[in-house]
Point group: C2
Chain length 126, copies 2
């Protein structure tokens, strides 16, 4: 059985994926299908499955903000994947922030706790 | 609109949740529904929704390995939750390991990279 077959894929053929930096910061959460997980290993760069666009999503293909993969881990049940990555450009979020988890719950309000590093309009030129 | 209503719940009324330690280590991935997320804030301890048992799951209720919540974050789309936790007993995984992500892909094989700290039979006495 190949390592890809050992993953417990959802009915839709997907697996949830967490990406964190080497320093532990969790920068994003996305999904992969079999092909994207295999491509991630082959390229050494994160390739997700975009559920909204229904296609492979080589992270950074448009922005240049590629994620170099340092390690690929899976959990006890092999139904979740955890990537350690080096984030090119230092921006993982489409809002132009370092990571996506920039809302923090404080006194029952979601407060924005991270600055925009680069205007998304300058990142995505299309 | 309350902070809970701002979360983009799945059709099943759930949201994926990542739990990491203060040092950045990601120890588990699970799901919450509205009630469990509200209880998590009220108790200051992680309460998940068990999809397999179809009920609220106050993490540590049986093992004592409660997760004290240090922060609750959400992502750009508010469809994922990230908890920073203090793990009581130092064991988050039901296999008796510190965390669940103990399989690492090496030469196309999933290799176990973390030791069992405590025999699960001693953790779950029922």
């Amino acid at each position: 059985m190949s390592w890809v077959d050992e993953i417990k894929w959802t009915e839709d053929g997907l697996v949830p994926v967490i990406a964190q930096l080497d320093n532990g910061k969790v920068v994003m959460f996305a999904w992969m299908n079999r092909e994207s997980l295999q491509l991630t290993l082959e390229k050494g760069e994160a390739v997700y499955w975009s559920r909204s666009r229904n296609k492979l999503w080589h992270k950074g293909e448009e922005s240049g903000h590629v994620q170099k993969v340092l390690s690929i881990k899976s959990d006890c049940d092999k139904d979740v994947v955890l990537l350690t990555i080096e984030q090119k450009g230092g921006i993982a979020c489409h809002t132009g922030r370092e990571g996506c988890f920039f809302h923090e719950l404080q006194q029952q309000q979601w407060v924005v706790t991270e600055p925009v590093i680069k205007d998304p309009q300058l990142i995505y030129k299309k």
